[in-house]
Symmetry: C2
Subunit: 615 residues, 2 copies
């Protein structure tokens, strides 16, 4: 296309952004208009993408990090012939694929859900990493960011990661339109301010007028020919460009234009500029994904093994069996034990350093490319990435997250290192799976089982050694549980998971010595929860005593309560959990202080039985 045609295409994208937002009665046309020329040149001259084959391995990948500019994205889809004009006007209406912020659940051309700012670039880094280190089909990753979102630290985690990994297949276009939601950004149109920052992190930068299509064209060309560095194109633009009533003015964020019809006229009216998006090259390399029979580590009953150790060994074994498994860690692989995977499969291990948002984002990016990521750090530090987990669930991304050092059982390091909110956090995520093994064989099985699930899967591991109580042949279906002790005389049921399982077993022994029989359930699947077994235990014993190394809210106790959330009769429910702020102490002292060790469990059970609170 020549200059005039490119400019025309830019105007068309503006017009369609205005029309879609007007039809919806909401949306972000002004944020779309600033980036319209950037998008037009990309679409017409540089993107390599087959809209009919979004799964094509050599397709470029485009991420709209400023997800609120969805009208522009959908206008581009229309220009490329992927979406009809009629559908464009369903924007933001119930049932439409064209949501307020784009999601891959609905649209095959969207790589990842955006709308929480500062996430597109981190996920883009994950995609670019997969392209560079795993796939080598030559695709490029284009990320369109807003300037406001550069205030997010996650952007600089991503910049650091991309610079360090020399991701020259990653091109970030920053639409510097100077205006955020509320008003001016910190740096306004000071492109140099952004350039200095990207350069400091090892990027090549290009500063341009984002409404000069020839300069945009040359900038993209320069970006594509840059070797050894990711590229940031900093484009000076005007929010609402092209419509005098809103151009470069405050107070027009996230609203349809006041006079959409007049605006369309001012923009030259609707047009149908024909765009032919380039085909991707024939895929240079097919993915070489080995498959072998999985040989999980096997542990002997009675041995003392930390579940984190079993996780590390099982992950390495899974990596041997499946060539699509990748592992990522937040610079604590010697603690989480992903170091086992790193030793066995260094080419599929990704060190993300102490940057948990980027850790999860990179996993999400790799998942979009069909890899099966396991990302690990301390359970406590996964809280750092909660917004990324939330957005990953909106994406429908299949990622495995593994949090080690859960609970007060870690001991002396104190509360900053203790995951005590992680079960609550992951349970509340839509469609998630939450697993909490108590022994090594169970851990190994669950690590393998996670691989076949949808959505966000979380595995909670423990620092200290616990006894192996299951044989290596035992199976642990997700959504199941194990009843470890039971009789017809059980007077209550202790529901435990992870480190509280051996404590519950010891408590049952103590209680049996006093003539009090209790049932013990290992609820390793915290979500989904084994409703049938819990209901049977409720009917047969009348009272469920939950014991968890987690705060009282949102964890095991709540999971058990939820099993009775359909109006049926509810058993008596009592929960033991961590209710005070721990300090430093030895692991056994911590469990005792929290009242979740064998002594605490037995005392609570005895009180309930003897005071005839139950039966």
């Amino acid at each position: 296309m020549n200059t005039a045609e490119l400019a025309e295409l830019g105007q068309q994208l503006r017009v369609d952004s205005v029309r879609a937002s007007a039809a919806a009665g909401s949306g972000h046309p002004t944020s779309s208009m600033s980036a319209a020329d950037l998008m037009a040149v990309l679409l017409a001259h540089h993107l390599r993408y087959d809209f009919e084959r979004p799964e094509h391995p050599a397709n470029d990948r485009f991420v709209l990090s400023k997800g609120h500019a969805s009208p522009l994205l959908y206008a581009a889809y229309k220009a490329a012939g992927a979406v009809e004009d009629g559908e464009l006007l369903t924007f933001r209406k119930i049932g439409s694929r064209l949501e307020g912020h784009p999601t891959p659940r609905r649209l095959p051309w969207v790589e990842t859900a955006t709308g929480s700012l500062g996430q597109g670039l981190p996920v883009g880094v994950g995609i670019a990493l997969a392209g560079k280190r795993l796939e080598r089909t030559g695709y490029r990753v284009w990320v369109l960011c807003g300037d406001s979102e550069l205030a997010e630290g996650s952007v600089w985690e991503a910049a650091e990661h991309a610079g360090y990994e020399h991701l020259d297949n990653l091109i970030t276009i920053v639409d510097v339109n100077r205006l955020g939601q509320r008003g001016p950004t910190r740096h306004g149109h000071d492109l140099d301010a952004y350039a200095r920052r990207f350069q400091a992190f090892g990027w090549h930068t290009i500063e341009i007028d984002g409404h000069d299509v020839d300069k945009i064209d040359r900038a993209y060309g320069e970006a594509l020919s840059t070797a050894g560095q990711p590229v940031a194109i900093l484009a000076r633009t005007l929010k609402g460009k092209g419509v005098a009533a809103v151009e470069d003015m405050e107070g027009h964020h996230g609203k349809p234009l006041p006079d959409a019809e007049g605006a369309v006229a001012e923009l030259g009216g609707p047009r149908e500029v024909p765009v032919r998006v380039s085909e991707p090259p024939a895929a240079a390399a097919l993915r070489d994904v080995t498959t072998e029979v999985l040989q999980l580590p096997r542990y002997d009953e009675g041995d003392q093994v930390a579940t984190r150790d079993a996780f590390g060994a099982a992950l390495a074994a899974l990596g041997t069996a499946r060539g699509d498994v990748v592992a990522l860690d937040g610079e604590v692989g010697d603690s989480t034990r992903t170091e086992e995977f790193a030793k066995a499969h260094p080419e599929r291990f990704f060190e993300c350093y102490i940057a948990e948002q980027q850790l999860v984002a990179a996993a999400v990016g790799m998942a979009t490319r069909g890899w099966l990521p396991y990302a690990s750090t301390f359970a406590a530090f996964l809280t750092r990435a909660y917004d990324f987990v939330r957005m990953a669930s909106i994406s429908g991304a299949g990622v495995n997250l593994v949090g080690s050092h859960a609970g007060v059982a870690i001991g002396q390091d104190g509360p900053s290192q203790m995951g005590l909110e992680d079960l609550a956090m992951f349970r509340a995520v839509h469609g998630s799976t939450v697993l909490y093994p108590c022994d090594a064989n169970q851990t190994a099985r669950l690590v393998a089982a996670m691989a076949g699930l949808d959505g966000i899967r979380y595995l909670r591991t423990s620092r200290g050694k616990t006894p192996v109580i299951y044989g290596p042949g035992e199976e642990f279906p997700v959504g199941g549980s194990k009843t470890l002790v039971s009789s017809e005389e059980d007077r209550l049921t202790v529901v435990a998971a992870g480190v509280t399982v051996p404590e519950a077993l010891a408590a049952a022994d103590r209680l049996a010595e006093d003539g009090i029989l209790v049932r013990v359930i290992d609820l390793y699947s915290v979500k989904p929860v084994d409703v049938d077994t819990l209901r049977r235990a409720a009917e047969e014993t009348g009272c469920l005593l939950t014991v968890e190394d987690h705060h009282a809210e949102g964890g095991l106790g709540d999971a058990v309560a939820e099993a009775f959330g359909d109006g049926r009769p509810v058993p008596r429910l009592v929960r033991l959990a961590v209710r005070t702020m721990p300090g430093s102490a030895a692991p056994d002292e911590q469990l005792h202080a929290a009242g979740i060790d064998a002594v605490g469990i037995a005392a609570a059970a005895k009180l309930l039985v003897e005071e005839a609170v139950v039966r």
Copy 2:
């Protein structure tokens, strides 16, 4: 002190770090040893601090961002005469004030809990902001960071914030010891790499040998004389400095030295170098905190007002009544309505731009200085700061967090903007309070009530207008509820909060028309929960139907279940919640699709009653 004396003090801090860790059998001596000379010179020559008056308004503030180097901190306290040698050796033992990672709950000289890396600097920025813009007593904020933690994006949010605000009262010392937990950092001893990054964000940088006490001394002097910019001192150090068996070697992170006795001997043995820490200057300015009678906004029953609007107005009023109230926002003040406060009290409003970790960290920093912060953004985006919230609760910091745009009720913007995990997230925080008002007068009262609570307080507000159902004189104690509809014939109880309250009231009307009487409770205090009222409703109606604009896990349903977690008889519990992934749709369509509008509530209640599942 002369050079030799400073070096001696550095050796003493090393010796005591080694001794404390040896006595504990755990801890981080090598990470302490790298920074010992940096700490020695600070303590002896530059810090202004009265250990007997930690509350002194002109005291400098010291934050150990690399909180695992706690042995060094405690060794410094000992050198300053604040801690005895006997107590030093209680390090990490149960009941000791000297925890694995320092917390202000236990030690009066600790400003904020650290141990989750990348948080000390962001909180330090909050303290420095308070010093510069609010207090003006001339204190300086010293933050000692590790090099590993510079991978955290939160550090660059903080760097951006500090640079933009010209915080020349903030000095960050980076202990560049080249080794993280697992192994080498990304940049090793490349001080320039870090300097470039800080400079890009507007900082003055100084690069030194971190074991040359004279150079350290001069660097601190240069930092103190730098005007208009924060300063980063990048110090090249060796992990485990001074003990050949560990110095600059991998594999010795987070462990006592293999031969502590030999190490102490190699370091020249224990010594008692006398240190006299400088007194702070007489406080230059007393805090001018006005107090007036609080005049909350008043709304007429039947009016339609969004709770976010009431929040904004109430916060502005609270700011007028109390001069210690400060407000912070994540560049969405026009949505959260903190813009009302910003207009009324611009000198106490802090724009944090789109950087939610820094938003919460700045609030925590201000809270350490006795200010009463209200920090606001969309409820969904507070997930970005969960680790900061978690650490704030460990600090015992009193901060108010306000999340707007909760739930599917926001409508067209779609799931990325919907807070659907926030209740779970905040309930799981130790000692937190979680409030969810349904009308404007209730919101105003709760905004005021939050001010007087301890710990983390969360208020959830809504985007759309809801009817004012309470008079302006009504009181809403935290931990209470309001029974809005009740009779002796109630066949079940609908428990609602926020946007589901008007829906529950409408459902009760519909059901009454069918001859089915139901009780309606407004459970505005989600934590603590009104156990008595819920139990009475359970006894009298037999079934509780919870209705929440939140995922089914961790929110209102779990809060209600928890009220019966002591072994007493449990009513039948049924929960209506958001169980699918929403798309774009109008607010009423969203509530309907989730089954939490009046139609859904009435249908569920009718089913329960007619199918005789209840009574």
